[in-house]
C-alpha cells in the first residue's frame, strides 16, 4: 500500500511516500540515497544489509518499511558524530578489520547494536554474535579483536 511512512533516521526525522511493503534496504539505498548499507544476499543470510531499528540489529533486506514506522533507524552513516568516528569505527581502522570493505557496514552495525545491550561482551560472545555475518576476505580475526577492544 502506498502511504507516507515517518520514522527517525540517524537521529533526524525522515518521511517516505511509497509502498509500505518495500524492503527497507531499497528505500535506504534508493529513495534516501544512503548507500552505506549494502545488498549481499537478499535473503537475510549474510548480514551486509544490517541496520539497527530501535537499537536492535535487523536485516534491512528482510524488513518491510511499514515495520519501522515511528521507530528509530540507525545506519552506518549515523555512527559518526560531528566528524568524530564512533570508537568501533576507529577500532576497525586500527585493527585493519576489513579488506574490500563491502561487509564492513553490516559488521559495524551488528557489533554496534550488540554492544548497546552487552557493552562488556567476551571474545567468545562476540564470535557467537557475529557468526551470522559473512566476510569473504577473511578479516574475521581482526573484526573480533576490534570489537573486543571497544567491549573491554
Amino acid at each position: 500500500m502506498n502511504r507516507k511512512i515517518e520514522f527517525k533516521l540517524n537521529g533526524k526525522p525522515a518521511a517516505v511516500d511509497t509502498d509500505d511493503q518495500r524492503a527497507l534496504l531499497w528505500v535506504l539505498r534508493g529513495d534516501l540515497e544512503l548507500t552505506g548499507t549494502k545488498y549481499g544476499c537478499g535473503e537475510g543470510i549474510c548480514g551486509a544489509c544490517t541496520v539497527a531499528v530501535d537499537g536492535v540489529a535487523v536485516r534491512s533486506c528482510q524488513t518491510a518499511l511499514a515495520n519501522v514506522e515511528g521507530k528509530s533507524v540507525t545506519t552506518i552513516e549515523g555512527l559518526e558524530r560531528d566528524g568524530k568516528l564512533h570508537p568501533l569505527q576507529q577500532a576497525f581502522i586500527d585493527h585493519g578489520a576489513f579488506q574490500c570493505g563491502y561487509c564492513t557496514s553490516g559488521m559495524l552495525m551488528n557489533a554496534w547494536a550488540f554492544l548497546q545491550k552487552t557493552p562488556h561482551a567476551s571474545r567468545a560472545a562476540i564470535v557467537d554474535e557475529m557468526d551470522a555475518n559473512l566476510c569473504r576476505c577473511g578479516a574475521h580475526q581482526r573484526i573480533v579483536s576490534a570489537i573486543a577492544e571497544v567491549a573491554k
Partner: protein, 715 residues
C-alpha cells in the same frame, strides 16, 4: 599504442611535474604472455599544492594495493603517505593494464611506481638546487620539503607554474632497503575512513540522474534454450520498460525492487540440455574425457610412452595396492598411489557483479566492479560496435574479486541497455545471478604414485593432474625421478558452465595432493612429517619457512598419526614461500573438524607493508577454510543448484581459528606476491592434521562432516 598517449596525458594532467615510466615488458610478463605492451605503465604528478597523484590501471578490491602502491611512491619521493592520492582503474586517466590478478600488483607494478617516484625526486632536487642556489648534494627531502639545513622549499612551491614531463625507464636510482622509512613499516589502510563510514563508493552506489535499474531474464540452466516468452504483464506495469533484443530480455524500472517485481511477471519456457555429469560424478567424467595426457616435465628414468600409464592405471582407484609396475619409475621400492579430488568453487565475493552505464554525447561511460577495467572497455566497445576511445570504464572500490571479477559481463549488459534506453542503467546481480554466472574454479582429480628409498628419501614421483592445471604442480622436494602428466580435455567444452581463475588458480588443489602425499609417505616410512620434509629438501628458503612455522606452533616430534592433531604443509606460489602449521580437533561423533590454530611463515622478499601482508595471509587462511571444510558447488550439468549462502557455505566467525603470521626477513629479494600464497597449503595442512588426530586420510575436498564420518567408519 593506447588511446591515451603521453602527449595527451600531459595535456590532460595540467601543470606541475609529471613523471611517466615506459618499461619494457618484464621477463615474467613476456613469459606469461599477458600481452603487456611496450608502453607507459605508471604516471605520477606533483601539483602546485605539493599533492601527488599516482595513476594506476590496477584496481583495489580489498587486497590493499591502494596502500602499498602509495607507500612505495611516498618512500621514493620523500613525502608523507597522506599526501598521495591514488587514481586507479579509470581507462581515461590511467595507463593501460592487463588486469588485477595473480598477486602481481606489488611485485610487477611496484617497480614502475618506485621508478616514477624516484625520478620525480631527482627532478625536484634539481629544481630545489636551482631555486635555493645550493649544490644538490647538500639537499635532503623530508615530508615534501627540500632543505640544506638552512634554506628550504616545498615540492608544491617547486611544482608551481611548471610544465615538466619526464620519461624514464624502469631502472631509476632507487633508495636502498636500509634507507627505507615508509616501505616496510606497518601502515594502516589509506581507505579505512571511507570504508568504516559507508562513504566508500562501490559500483552499486553510483547514482546518475534518471538512472533505471535493470533485471534480465535468465535461463534456468546453462545451455538452456527459450521456447516461449510472454512480457505483456510486465509491460503493463507503471514506469516499467521491457527491452527485447535477440537474447537480451530485460525490464527497466526506477527502483531495483520494482525491476524485480516486473521481472517476476515475465513468463518464459525453456528446454534444458541433459546433464553430462554432476558434482558427484565429475571426477570419473574428467578421467574418462581427459584425453591421453601430455607429459610436461620429466626428470630421471621413465617409460617414454606417456599414454601407457594413463591407460593402464585406474586413476580413480583411490589408494593403491602398492604393486610394482613395469616402467613406473625406479621399481625397487614399494610405490604408494593416491587419488585426490576437489570440487568446483564459487568466488562468492560479498559484492555481486555490478555496473552502471551512461550513454551521453556518443560516449559510453561504465562504472563497473571489475578486476579488468581495460579488458572491460574492449568488450563494451565490441558489443556496442564503438571505437575504444568512445568507451570509458571507471572502477570504484571493488567488493572482493578473487579472480571472479576478471570477466565483467554485467558491464556489457548495462552498456547495451543504457544505449537502447537512452538513459543511465544499472545492472546489479542478485546473489542468485552471482552464483549462476560465476566463473567457477574447476574441479580436479590428481593421482600421485610415489616411492621412498631405504634412506627415507623420496625416490620417485609420478604425478597426473586433471582439471587443476599445472600451477604449483612441481614436486618442490629433491626427487631424482619425476614425471608430470597434465590431462587436457578432448573437448574445450568439458565444463557445463564457465570456469576461470580462483584465488591461486589450481595451486591449492595441486598442493593439497602433493603435501598430502608427502605426509602419506612420511607416515609409511615412520618419520615425523616435518623431519621427512627437511630430509628431502636442500632449498634454504623452503627449510626456513618449514622450521619457522613448526617452531612457532611448538612442534612436538612424532611420526603420524601422533594423536596430536597437528600438521605442516608448504608451497611456493607467486615467488613466495609459505609454510602453514595447524592444529585441529575432530569430533568423532559428528565428523566435524574444528581448526584450532594456524601458524603461517612466509618469505615474500622485501615486505612493503607488513600489516597489509599479514592481513592477506590471514585472509587466505580464513577464506581457505571454505574450500577445505564446506565449499563445493552442487550442480547437475548446467543447472546450478547453489544459488545462495544457505547451501553454499562460506566460513563463519566460529570456524576461524587463532591465526598467527610470521614474515621472514629477506631484503635481498625484490617484493614477491602476497595475495594468494597462504591459501595454497590450506587443504593439505588440515587434511594432514586430521590424519594426525585420527589416523584417517581424507583425499577429497571439502572435508565435510559426512565425508569424515564415512572415512572414519571405513577405516
Amino acid at each position: 599504442m593506447n588511446a591515451l598517449d603521453r602527449r595527451t596525458f600531459v595535456k590532460l594532467a595540467g601543470g606541475g611535474v609529471i613523471v611517466l615510466v615506459a618499461a619494457k615488458p618484464s621477463a615474467l610478463f613476456a613469459q606469461q604472455r599477458r600481452g603487456y605492451p611496450e608502453d607507459l605503465n605508471a604516471y605520477l604528478r606533483i601539483d602546485e599544492n605539493g599533492h601527488v597523484t599516482l595513476f594506476s590501471g590496477k584496481i583495489e578490491m580489498g587486497q590493499g594495493v591502494h596502500t602499498s602502491l602509495a607507500q612505495m611512491a611516498a618512500e621514493e619521493l620523500g613525502v608523507p603517505l597522506e599526501s598521495i592520492t591514488m587514481c586507479m582503474g579509470d581507462t581515461d586517466q590511467c595507463p593501460w593494464d592487463a588486469g588485477t590478478w595473480g598477486s602481481q600488483s606489488t611485485r610487477m607494478f611496484g617497480p614502475a611506481v618506485r621508478a616514477a617516484a624516484a625520478e620525480a625526486r631527482t627532478v625536484m632536487m634539481k629544481l630545489a638546487s636551482e631555486a635555493l642556489r645550493v649544490p644538490r648534494e647538500t639537499l635532503v627531502v623530508r615530508n615534501g620539503i627540500v632543505s640544506d639545513g638552512k634554506k628550504s622549499i616545498t615540492y608544491g612551491e617547486l611544482a608551481k607554474g611548471r610544465q615538466i614531463a619526464r620519461l624514464v625507464g624502469e631502472k631509476a636510482v632507487l633508495r636502498s632497503v636500509k634507507d627505507f622509512t615508509v616501505i616496510g613499516r606497518p601502515m594502516k589502510r589509506v581507505d579505512g575512513r571511507e570504508k568504516v563510514t559507508g562513504r566508500a563508493k562501490y559500483a552499486g552506489d553510483i547514482r546518475l540522474p534518471g538512472m533505471l535499474y535493470a533485471r534480465l531474464l535468465r535461463p534456468p540452466a546453462h545451455g538452456a534454450t527459450r521456447t516461449s516468452l510472454d512480457t505483456e504483464k510486465a509491460k503493463a506495469m507503471n514506469g516499467v520498460t521491457v527491452v527485447e533484443r535477440d537474447d537480451l530480455v530485460a525490464v527497466l524500472a526506477p527502483t531495483p525492487d520494482g525491476a524485480a517485481e516486473a521481472l517476476s511477471l515475465i513468463k518464459a519456457e525453456w528446454t534444458k540440455p541433459a546433464a553430462a555429469f554432476d558434482h558427484e560424478s565429475v571426477g570419473d567424467y574428467f578421467v574418462k574425457n581427459g584425453g591421453a595426457g601430455e607429459v610436461k616435465n620429466v626428470k630421471g628414468e621413465w617409460d617414454p610412452s606417456p599414454g601407457a600409464s594413463g591407460a593402464t592405471l585406474s586413476p580413480l582407484a583411490g589408494r593403491g595396492t602398492g604393486a610394482k609396475r613395469q616402467g613406473e619409475g625406479l621399481d625397487s621400492h614399494e610405490s604408494i598411489e593416491t587419488t585426490f579430488r576437489t570440487g568446483y568453487l564459487a568466488h562468492a565475493p560479498m559484492e555481486p557483479h555490478t555496473a552502471a552505464a551512461e550513454w551521453k554525447d556518443g560516449r559510453m561511460t561504465v562504472w563497473a566492479s571489475t578486476q579488468s577495467p581495460f579488458g572491460t572497455r574492449t568488450r563494451v566497445a565490441q558489443a556496442l560496435g564503438l571505437d575504444e576511445s568512445k568507451v570509458r570504464v571507471l572502477t570504484p572500490f571493488v567488493g572482493g574479486g578473487f579472480g571472479g571479477k576478471s570477466p565483467a559481463p554485467q558491464a556489457v549488459e548495462a552498456a547495451r541497455l543504457a544505449q537502447i534506453a537512452g538513459k543511465p542503467v544499472m545492472v546489479a546481480y542478485t546473489r542468485g545471478e552471482e552464483f549462476f554466472y560465476d566463473t567457477f574454479g574447476p574441479a580436479s582429480v590428481i593421482r600421485v604414485v610415489s616411492s621412498v628409498d631405504d634412506e627415507r628419501k623420496i625416490a620417485s614421483w609420478d604425478y597426473h593432474v586433471y582439471g587443476a592445471g599445472e600451477r604449483s604442480s612441481e614436486v618442490l622436494y629433491d626427487v631424482p625421478n619425476v614425471r608430470l602428466t597434465s590431462y587436457v580435455p578432448r573437448s574445450s567444452k568439458l565444463h557445463p558452465f564457465a570456469t576461470g581463475p580462483w584465488r591461486a588458480p589450481g595451486a591449492g588443489m595441486n598442493v593439497f595432493a602433493r603435501e598430502s602425499q608427502i605426509d602419506i609417505m612420511a607416515a609409511k616410512a615412520g618419520v615425523d612429517p616435518l623431519e621427512f620434509r627437511l630430509r628431502n629438501t636442500t632449498d634454504t628458503r623452503l627449510r626456513r619457512v618449514l622450521q619457522t612455522a613448526a617452531d612457532a606452533l611448538g612442534w612436538k616430534r612424532g611420526a603420524g598419526p601422533s594423536g596430536q592433531g597437528r600438521a605442516i604443509a608448504a608451497s611456493v606460489d607467486a615467488g613466495t614461500y609459505c609454510a602453514l602449521a595447524a592444529e585441529v580437533e575432530v569430533d568423532r561423533k559428528t565428523g566435524a573438524i574444528q581448526v584450532k590454530r594456524v601458524v603461517a611463515a612466509q618469505d615474500m622478499g622485501i615486505v612493503i607493508n607488513p600489516t597489509g601482508a599479514k592481513m592477506q595471509m590471514e585472509g587466505c587462511i580464513a577464506m581457505g577454510l571454505g574450500y577445505v571444510l564446506s565449499e563445493e558447488l552442487q550442480f547437475h550439468g548446467g543447472d546450478i543448484a547453489d544459488r545462495n549462502f544457505d547451501t553454499y557455505e562460506l566460513p563463519r566467525f566460529s570456524a576461524v581459528p587463532r591465526i598467527e603470521t610470521l614474515l621472514i626477513k629477506n631484503d635481498e629479494l625484490s617484493p614477491q606476491g602476497g595475495g594468494e600464497p597462504a591459501i595454497v597449503p590450506m587443504g593439505a595442512v588440515i587434511a594432514n592434521a586430521v590424519f594426525d588426530a585420527t589416523g584417517v586420510r581424507m583425499t577429497r575436498l571439502p572435508m565435510t562432516r559426512e565425508r569424515v564420518l564415512a572415512a572414519m567408519k571405513a577405516t
